[in-house]
Symmetry: C2
Subunit: 443 residues, 2 copies
């Protein structure tokens, strides 16, 4: 260990030695000398808890091991607790106890922060402690730091991002190789990109956890996971992906937080992005977050959104940050949600019905005269204009033909009415597929 | 002003009310409430110096104005000095005096930091003061913060970026519209993207200033502007741009800092980048920096690299950072060059002759038998392999034909020998155009 300072080492306890925990031990050991040269002191993991101590890939040299998280959290030698267990309990109780014990916390647990962050940050404030959660959003990309500190001079207008690598991998493969959703999902599971139960990733819940956090630090609002509109990618077909390409777009699964005149929009859904946008070229398991500030304009942050070492990169950065502010009085530290806790805003979350987006619609229509007239009449009755129209040659044997439309921007509620009316037609086979378009300002 | 804290306001003095100075006054005024809610106190510009007080677009409400920088630097009420004058003197003297007076400094002056940063940071350390310089590199992109703090757990392997917006605008226009360099330069000057004397931008000096800073904070080495290899874009022709496109590449003007087994490479030159890379899609005046860390993998940071308000965004973020660490003991602040000042490395800068890159070569050859044989013989004699070859149909009336080659990776010295030998041929019209290729690891 190459100590460059007279400061004593900082002792760290770790809860969870799974994939990310293993990554943290390896990165801290491998880069010990550079990390000391940056932080001005050594950072040592001295105590770790894991359910299964035999199966870990962690570098456990010099670390006291236990199966009991409480032992680590109550260890008087440890100044910082790294929570990498995942899930709500016992993670929540251990984090709260660590704070009450006068220990700082670093966590990668997005579900915990999105759902219990308000409680945890209040407890941290009472105790004068810090909770670092850079690793909870977009893995190794320092997006929390960028928004909370790097763009702190801005009035932020919106944040949107590809914040689930599994969903982005699936959509990228569907596009690149013309494959269908179930095939690619099976492959993603084989490659270890998707869990045995992929619901959290493909139904947008994981992305909604991250969006909840991004929205809070961008706009200075409390964490409100339960108000996020959530739609996953499991209904997207190979044809949708190919149609989008033909129309000059890519389908990406986005988390979007945007201010409008009514409050804050919080939504996660598949989105058509114009091909010329940089965000459209983010492929595979990579993540990217685009932030719009009134002064800075658009900033994009791109990198690996998951994986042992990218996530460890964020955890270690948080540890160094905590170490640096140990002697700062708590009032002058960066506030957890970017804004001072007594200066959070009560901006309302806009109901999805009130949000206006353009839409891609794919309908399966019976191949008979008058169908198109029916479709266009229903849309016109709802005040919906058509921006583009695409009808595929039907195979000679088919009785239905796919009809694809791009509409002009329209309120969700009105589009829902139009879709219900379309699905009520005898000549349309339900369900109608709808994918929203988000026009980013020109790049 | 919406004060949310009992802390007294921080008073700031500003040197220079030109484009960026005007932007800083406007952003601080417009976003005063949000900035206070983040920083926990108000930030007020109380004193400003400018050469020409009549022509400024700054919001000078409530600001004491002077033409004498020394008055601001010596104002006992002011805690932070914002240096936005540009150039070396009197900026350097005023910054040193501000530090000696016990004031923190925030600057956007890349030339000053690249050339006099070692002296200025030593003075800041002696005085226990901070110098913020986020705005000196890549405008509004918080790249200094990302590298110095966000990626602090990594052993950084390389940094490469599009860090001059003027050069990137020119290359983007040449590609997009098939125009020639002098035309586009003239347009860039008309649009205000390029100065009347565009040398700093198009000959790579501005990019080298920024690269000097990036390399220091990435690798923990002193600032060494005089050791950067610098090549601009003024010799690139419309044909080079078109040839690169045909071969699957884009030409970008990059700053590259890379560790290799001999030390650190520091170089600024036009570079062919594979079209599939995200960096290849960064167009117009935008900047982007790609960073490779051993844990995090590749991170890309993209945004406006210049302009009044993007630069102001970085300046204001630095002010807030300084405000937050006013009560931190100096030893625990983020070190100016990311590593503790007594832990900088003496890694040598690798001489350009020793650096290995693949190359694009464009030769004008007399249209006669045996020329190609001569060319391939010379390359073979120098041990240089050919990866791709392109010969254009010569117009019937032309006596010379362009020959385009991509070579395998080869040391600069050997390529220089080969080019000298090629140019010595009767059948080749000098000079041979050479543009380096940088294979980024797969993305």
């Amino acid at each position: 260990m190459n100590t460059v300072s007279s400061y004593p080492p900082i002792k760290v306890g770790i809860l969870g030695l799974g994939t990310v925990g293993g990554g943290v031990t390896r990165v801290l050991a491998r880069n010990a000398s550079e990390i000391s040269r940056r932080a001005g002191r050594d950072i040592l993991i001295t105590h770790a808890a894991a359910r299964n101590l035999d199966s870990t890939t962690a570098n456990t040299t010099g670390i006291k091991l236990t199966q009991e998280g409480l032992e680590v959290v109550d260890d008087p030698e440890v100044s910082i607790i790294i929570e990498l267990m995942g899930g709500y309990e016992p993670a929540r109780s251990l984090v709260l106890r660590a704070l009450a014990n006068g220990k700082h916390v670093v966590t990668a647990n997005k579900a915990l922060i999105a759902n219990h962050g308000n409680e945890i940050f209040a407890a941290a404030r009472d105790a004068g402690m810090m909770v670092g959660f850079e690793a909870a959003v977009a893995g190794g990309i320092p997006i929390i730091k960028a928004i909370r500190e790097g763009l702190a001079g801005n009035h932020l207008e919106w944040v949107m991002g590809i914040i689930n690598g599994t969903a982005n991998f699936i959509l990228s493969e569907m596009r690149g190789k013309g494959r269908n959703f179930p095939d690619v999902l099976a492959e993603a599971q084989k490659l270890g990109y998707a869990e045995a139960d992929p619901t959290l990733d493909i139904e947008g819940i994981d992305a909604a956890h991250k969006l909840t956090i991004l929205a809070s630090i961008a706009f200075g609002i409390p964490l409100q996971f339960d108000k996020v509109y959530i739609e996953g990618i499991s209904r997207i077909t190979r044809d949708d992906v190919a149609n989008a390409t033909k129309l000059g777009y890519r389908i990406k699964h986005l988390g979007i937080a945007r201010r409008d005149e009514h409050g804050v929009q919080l939504r996660v859904h598949p989105t058509l992005i114009p091909q010329r946008q940089l965000l459209a070229h983010v492929n595979g398991v990579m993540n990217a977050v685009l932030v719009k500030g009134d002064a800075v304009g658009q900033n994009l942050f791109y990198g690996a959104g998951a994986g042992a070492e990218p996530t460890a990169s964020a955890v270690v950065a948080d540890i160094i940050d905590v170490v640096r502010t140990l002697t700062t009085d708590p009032e002058n530290r960066v506030p957890h949600l970017a804004f001072q806790p007594d200066a959070l805003s009560d901006l309302p979350v806009v109901p999805m019905d009130e949000i206006e987006t353009a839409c891609y619609l794919r309908l399966l229509a019976l191949d008979r005269p008058g169908v198109l007239a029916d479709i266009t009449r229903i849309l016109a009755d709802c005040g919906i204009g058509i921006e583009a129209f695409m009808q595929k040659e039907a195979p000679a044997t088919a009785s239905v033909v796919p009809v694809v439309l791009l509409t002009n921007p329209v309120k969700e509620q009105r589009m829902n009415q139009a879709i219900a009316a379309l699905e009520a037609l005898d000549s349309i086979r339900a369900p109608v597929m709808r994918i929203r378009l988000d026009y980013l300002e020109s790049d």
